[in-house]
């Protein structure tokens, strides 16, 4: 078992003919993901031929991809100016799980888009996220498949490459993952820590969770309180940004300490108060999760 993606995932790639879209479609196909359609307005009727010889039909609209190929999941690699529209198109076409990789979508667009996706009852992951991977089954997004291995640990993270680091630590220590989810670092995201933790909590295959946060906002604090109240499996936490100065944005639009709120120190303290074991270094995740699984 897993969360968000499994062997019933039928993926449509929005922006399949773009640079990133085509590169990652190859990667996803190679990993075994069922990529059933691509969408590029104006290129409907053409098809995408992968490095491994697979061909994927291209449509003008997501609606057609749903009707003709039964797509139920979408991944979005379109430029920021059009990404918000692409998300709404997917939700409007009945796609249940939408993964937006695109970085740099205007926040004002996302406030409306987030509301739209909720109105349509779909789940959005991201934007500005690496996507999700269920090791050995399917990947949707850009997480490198080779660093993952199937197993009992769910990974959820606001970061991209830091997620890879954490997953890699687990894999190197021989600990597999149920699903790895990058929720994205933007101020407005479709799926937050609690949403993901809840899904892991309902997944029988997930026995422990690694949660990777960073400075800025209060998502981690709220997640910690939720974990203590609702979750029965153990959680190991890590927070990046102990050395980040207040008031400066650290790459991610959301990674900024405003006034005295959102420091790494505060978040780590709240984690510990709510029974989440805190890793001081990424490498410490190994021992803590081993302990948790043994516990």
């Amino acid at each position: 078992m897993s969360i968000f993606i499994d062997d019933s995932t039928r993926l449509v790639v929005q922006g399949i003919t773009g640079r990133d879209g085509s590169f990652h479609t190859n990667q996803m196909l190679e990993y075994g993901t069922q990529v059933v359609a691509g969408v590029t307005p104006g290129k409907g009727g053409q098809s995408f031929t992968a490095d491994n010889g697979t061909t994927v039909p291209i449509f003008n609209t997501v609606e057609e991809a749903v009707e003709k190929e039964g797509a139920n999941t979408s991944v979005i690699y379109v430029p920021p100016a059009f990404a918000s529209g692409a998300i709404m198109e997917a939700a409007d076409a009945g796609i249940a799980f939408i993964v937006a990789i695109t970085e740099g979508i205007p926040v004002m667009d996302m406030t409306r888009t987030y509301a739209f996706v909720k109105d349509r009852g779909a789940r959005l992951l991201g934007p500005n996220c690496p996507g999700a991977i269920t090791p050995g089954v399917a990947k949707v997004g850009i997480i490198p498949g080779q660093i993952t291995t199937p197993g009992p640990v769910g990974v959820v993270s606001r970061s991209g490459t830091l997620t890879y680091e954490a997953v890699n630590q687990l894999t190197e220590a021989g600990i597999g993952q149920s699903t790895c989810v990058g929720i994205g670092g933007d101020p407005i995201i479709g799926t937050n820590f609690i949403d993901t933790l809840r899904a892991f909590g309902e997944d029988p295959a997930t026995e422990a969770i690694v949660m990777i946060g960073e400075i800025g906002g209060t998502d981690e604090q709220e997640a910690a309180a939720w974990v203590q109240e609702h979750l029965e499996i153990p959680v190991v936490g890590f927070i990046a940004g102990q050395t980040a100065p207040p008031g400066r944005q650290m790459g991610h639009a959301g990674a900024i300490i405003s006034g005295s709120a959102g420091t790494a120190e505060e978040k780590m303290k709240v984690f510990e108060e709510h029974g989440i074991a805190v890793a001081k270094r990424p490498v410490d995740i190994r021992a803590l999760i081993q302990e948790a699984l043994a516990g």
Binding site: V107, E165, P187, I189, F238, G241, A253, A264
Partner: protein
């Protein structure tokens, strides 16, 4: 992107907000001339992207044009939080009957724009939030409907009792929200929002941050970027598509991904060092970016060692390796460089680096320890 007070006021004026007049001077003489036109009784305000201008001596009242010149000559060129003041705003002094606070920002929790208003203005709103939270009213706006009339009214009645002021404030809330949304702000703040003895509401100070992601469709706002008001290294980084923040330490860091970059800095500290910077080269692996990153890092004289931490995903390790080799050819790099590369095309990358004589690691802890050690030895 932060913009200056005078620019923020321009955006507010365009949305209809009552903002007193004001002009910008870059010399003391200009300041004097402007002050004379306003009758001499003016405020001279440093235009820098930093809070606490008042405490730092960057805001001065003048009762004559001559005094305005004197103030301007002191403020222009002064340094506030590492930033040199290059412009002052000269604006008439307003008589104040009461001061309030009003802002709109993005509330991460509800994923919506949020108003924050308080009848206690002209002070640090964070302090008010901590000590007297009941003096602050927060109101989330459903982006599907925008600010509704009864919401604007309820914000206004939280600030004022007098019907004429409630009426003005109701209108102002709409204008502030319009300024916020039409300019894709992440923050639009009026502090203080004053009532004059005549009963008129006016925005005396204004602070606006713009969502960088929206600048592509706001050319007029994008033109507000004041390159003189930010460190040259950050300008260079942004132009090269990098994300850079200068810190106080001596271990230069070059990482792909913001989270990993922060975790790397933290690990430097863990092993007893101090990071010299935050630097995220982003997802793409263009060798030119790596060259630009090294140029920026090496331009900082306090850097004693340089640490690369690359986890290849989209980023191809061989591209990064080529960038490092290329940079070493083009620029004279004094501090020692240690490199950790893992992930996509790792093997090719290690080969490239070995040939060029660089030491490469595959573990994050190893490379950080080594970089800290090298900096300490320097």
């Amino acid at each position: 992107m932060d913009i200056h007070e005078y620019q923020a006021k321009e955006l507010f004026r365009a949305a209809g907000v009552a903002v007193p007049p004001g002009e910008v001077a870059t010399t003391a003489e200009q300041a004097e001339e402007i002050a004379r036109r306003y009758g001499g009784s003016v405020v001279v305000k440093a235009q820098v992207h930093a809070g606490g201008r008042g405490k730092a001596g960057g805001v001065k009242l003048a009762s004559s044009a001559e005094e305005a010149r004197e103030h301007a000559s002191k403020i222009l060129g002064m340094t506030i939080k590492d930033l040199t003041v290059q412009k002052v705003l000269v604006t008439p002094i307003e008589d104040i009957a009461s001061e309030a606070y009003a802002s709109v920002l993005i509330d991460r929790e509800t994923q919506r724009p949020m108003f924050m208003v308080s009848p206690e203005g002209g002070v640090d709103i964070e302090e008010v939030a901590e000590n007297r939270p009941e003096a602050i009213r927060k109101l989330r706006i459903d982006p599907r409907y925008g600010l509704l009339p009864h919401q604007a009214y309820s914000l206004a009645t939280f600030l004022y009792d007098d019907p004429a002021q409630v009426k003005q404030a109701t209108k102002l809330m709409g204008q502030l929200y319009e300024a916020f949304t039409s300019n894709s702000c992440s923050l639009a703040e009026i502090n203080p929002l004053i009532v004059t003895p005549e009963g008129d509401l006016k925005a005396i100070d204004a602070k606006v941050s713009i969502d960088e992601s929206a600048l592509f469709r706001l050319p007029e706002v994008a033109a507000y970027r004041d390159l003189d008001a930010e460190p040259a290294a950050e300008t260079k980084a942004r132009e090269a598509g990098l994300s850079f923040v200068k810190l106080e330490g001596d271990v230069g860091c070059c990482v792909n991904g913001a989270g990993l970059a922060m975790a790397t800095m933290d690990l430097v500290k863990y092993y007893g060092g101090e990071p010299a910077n935050f630097l995220d080269i982003g997802g793409s692996s263009n060798p030119d970016k790596v060259v630009a990153a090294l140029e920026i890092i090496t331009a900082d004289p306090s850097v004693k060692s340089i640490l690369f931490n690359i986890f290849g995903g989209i980023t191809r390790c061989d591209d990064v390796a080529n960038g490092i080799v290329e940079a070493a050819r083009r620029i004279d790099i004094q501090p020692p460089i240690v490199i950790r590369l893992t992930g996509t095309n790792e093997t090719e990358a290690l080969e490239i680096l070995k040939e060029a004589g660089f030491s490469a690691y595959t573990s994050m802890d190893e490379v950080v320890e080594k970089a800290v050690e090298l900096a300490a030895q320097a």
